[in-house]
């Protein structure tokens, strides 16, 4: 493999910013690939098979959310949004269309690199480990999740979130702790990240996402794994 630390697809119409991001990524040993147009993004993605996508939300052609949905439809590759509008619905919309994380402009190079690293970091695979929450079984090294024998496809981030909860089913995780464990934030950040991804995770693994049994909300504290019965 000639790949260094990983290939990063930068989808951004602002060429100056894209070039600058390229410079920073390259200096950190990543291999940047560029795309300036929302309509072409999916094609470039298929062609280059990146390990991570940096996606600007405001794009000519298809907008970032649409591109995000398209990529997510065929791949669980980490997607980090770049957004100038960190307020209100935009971020949540982006997260709901499948992005794993976001960085709001203006950001520092260190921050960008930290976010990219956090998403590319795959924990050193431990000894074969099987976890269960309720009737959900998780094959940690195999990255497989089944519910009642039916395989469920999760993105790496959702998988990490589920594993973090399942490893300590007796513990209630605050959103901040989950941000640190799953997203790699060292300081309290936007807890909406956790909220949105818990919803997404629930929509995949819960029988009734309105009344979750696997990922349970502990009011005023955070989340925990549901009771493992039987």
């Amino acid at each position: 493999m000639t790949r260094m630390k990983g290939r990063v697809l930068v989808v951004d119409d602002d060429t100056a910013l894209a070039e600058m991001i390229g410079i920073v990524l390259r200096s950190e040993g990543f291999e940047p690939v560029f795309c300036e147009d929302g309509d072409e993004a999916l094609g470039v993605f298929r062609q280059t098979q990146p390990d991570l996508v940096l996606l600007d939300l405001m794009l000519p052609g298809r907008d970032g959310n649409e591109v995000c949905r398209q990529i997510r439809a065929e791949s669980g590759v980490p997607i980090v949004m770049l957004t100038a509008k960190s307020d209100t619905v935009d971020v949540v919309l982006g997260l709901e269309s499948g992005a794993d994380d976001y960085i709001s402009k203006p950001f520092k190079p260190k921050e960008l690199v930290a976010r990219v690293r956090a998403r590319l970091r795959r924990s050193d695979e431990p000894a074969p480990e099987h976890l269960t929450i309720g009737d959900v079984t998780i094959d940690v090294p195999g990255h497989r999740v089944q519910r009642a024998g039916r395989p469920i496809s999760l993105t790496p981030l959702e998988f990490d979130l589920l594993v973090a909860l399942a490893r300590k089913p007796w513990q209630v995780f605050t959103r901040e702790v989950l941000l640190e464990k799953v997203w790699g934030y060292r300081h309290a950040a936007d807890t909406r990240l956790v909220n949105v991804h818990v919803q997404r995770l629930r929509s995949k693994i819960e029988n009734d996402p309105e009344q979750p049994e696997i990922v349970v909300t502990v009011r005023g504290v955070g989340y925990k794994a549901g009771v493992t019965t039987a």
């Binding site: 619905v89 950001f107 520092k108 936007d190 909220n195």
Partner: protein, 637 residues
Amino acid sequence: MGRRWRLLRGRAARAVRSWLHLWRSSLQVRVITSTLAIGLVALLLVGAYVGERMRDGLFEARLQQVLEESARSTQQAQDTFDSSTATTGVEVQRLLRDVAAAQRTGGVGEREVFLLRAPGQTSPLSVAAAASNAALVDLVSPELRAATADGGQRWQSVALPVGADDGTPDGSDDAATVVPAVVVGQDVNVPVVGTYQLFFLYSLQSEQDRLDFLQRTLAAAGAALVVLLGTMTWVVTRQVVHPVRRAAQVAERLAGGDLSERMTVHGQDEMATLARSFNEMAAGLQEQIHRMEELSALQRRFVSDVSHELRTPLTTIRMAGEVIHAARQDFDPAVRRSAELLATQLDRFEDLLAELLEISRFDAGAAVLDAESRDLRDVVVRVVDQATPLAERRGSWLQVVVPDEPPVADIDPRRVERILRNLIVNAVEHAEGTPVEVTVGADAQAVAVTVRDHGVGMTADEAARVFDRFWRADPARARTTGGTGLGLAISLEDAHLHGGWLQAWGRPGRGACFRLTLPRRAGIRLTASPLPLVPDEPEPSTDAVPVTVARPRTDPAALPDLAGAHEPGVHEPGEDEPAPGGEQKATDVGADEAARDGGSARPARGGVAADERRPSSAADGRPRSDGAADAERQGVR
């Protein structure tokens, strides 16, 4: 008994009160009541007069008739006596009885006849009086008899017991029902026995019936008139009052924000003129407000767009700056220093832009509370942990007092953290090496945090202005320390978004105290804070000035003006609870409730708080005590 009386009195008092209320609140009730009262009095007077006249007229006519008839009959009886040949008592007795019987039916209608011996008659022979109805003889009063004895025809009104007039004596309940009657008397000369008095008793029953009928008719007509009057008044006042009421309703709805509300215009009368003028006013108002809203929205969008548009190039510049900064060791000193300046000023620029955006979000009403149930102690401890390195550098130490009971409240932790960070960093910056006390308190309604320092303090005026945007007491000093001048303004908005208070107190030389009070749940309106704002210290605190700055969030006119749009409400010296601000708070709380409803803890689509994450602190490990808050207080001193 006493209880019943009290009960009754209470009920009466309530009735009177409700009536008074109705009287005061309804023009219609007042007009109708007055009209009816006046009409009723007038009708009663007229009715009484007419009734009197009718009675008198009927009576006079009947009396005339009775007098003429009785005079005629008396003459007839006298003739009979004169032509009589009776000589003995028995004959006279029979004669009297015959005359009485004959005279009874001799008139036009039925009448009773009495032949009584005249008083003072001294004839030696006497016979019994004759009467057609002996039971009624008592009706002939001694006064009448005496008057009749003086000669001529005399009459008197009497009350005739009913039941007696048909001939059946009934003395037991003569008072029960009586009809008016007239007794007419005149002397007659009876042979042998001398002067007797002949009395006729005429019942006025038929006249009374007629009078009753007339009076009933009159009363019915009167009642009909009253009803008619009431109805007329009701209709008339309705015609006047109804449009006024409509106008009031429409005005109320207009005031409530429904600017498209209009009155309906009928015809050409005064009310139509009122409606037309009213509608013109409403249209003018609507247009004006619409224009202002448009202007305000335009300005807000402009600020927001500018901020957003600046972000992408700023990102590039910032990254380039960082790259240059990282490589500064390779440059000669001048370029190296330039790179450092570039980096620090970029930080400042970024902070300013971020806070400008945050403020514009508040102004646009786009800030939403992302509330969840949290223990305030955790938030305080986290912020204090972050501020500790700064405090160490400044030579102060942070002292935290928390209650044993968990001060749990529905708060937006991100915003509360931002407020506390601003306050604590602020206090550390101005403590000048003295300890900074952070106290957490709670009661049933609210949770509170006070941040107290013992630095140079500030004057009451400064405390009043400390939350103003870009406000600095000493601009020169603030410029050198950087900061945006928006930190405390944003904190205040954050507090308001919770429906809470953020207040400042300060005295030169005694330090300053900031107090954050938040309601435990949405919908609680704060009336008091669990913690005192003015420190409980030996020095007199009479000139302490707690300050609440409240700005109606719905006022679009206040939006474009970034600098100093607030009206600081200054409290009574020494007063702890912010009464003056309380009124303004009320409107704030309302807006905040709506905001809180929109932003539940769940990340529902569209209902999530605006977020200005500061990932810089996450990446470089720097405590998130940015210089913004520092500048606020720097400026104050």
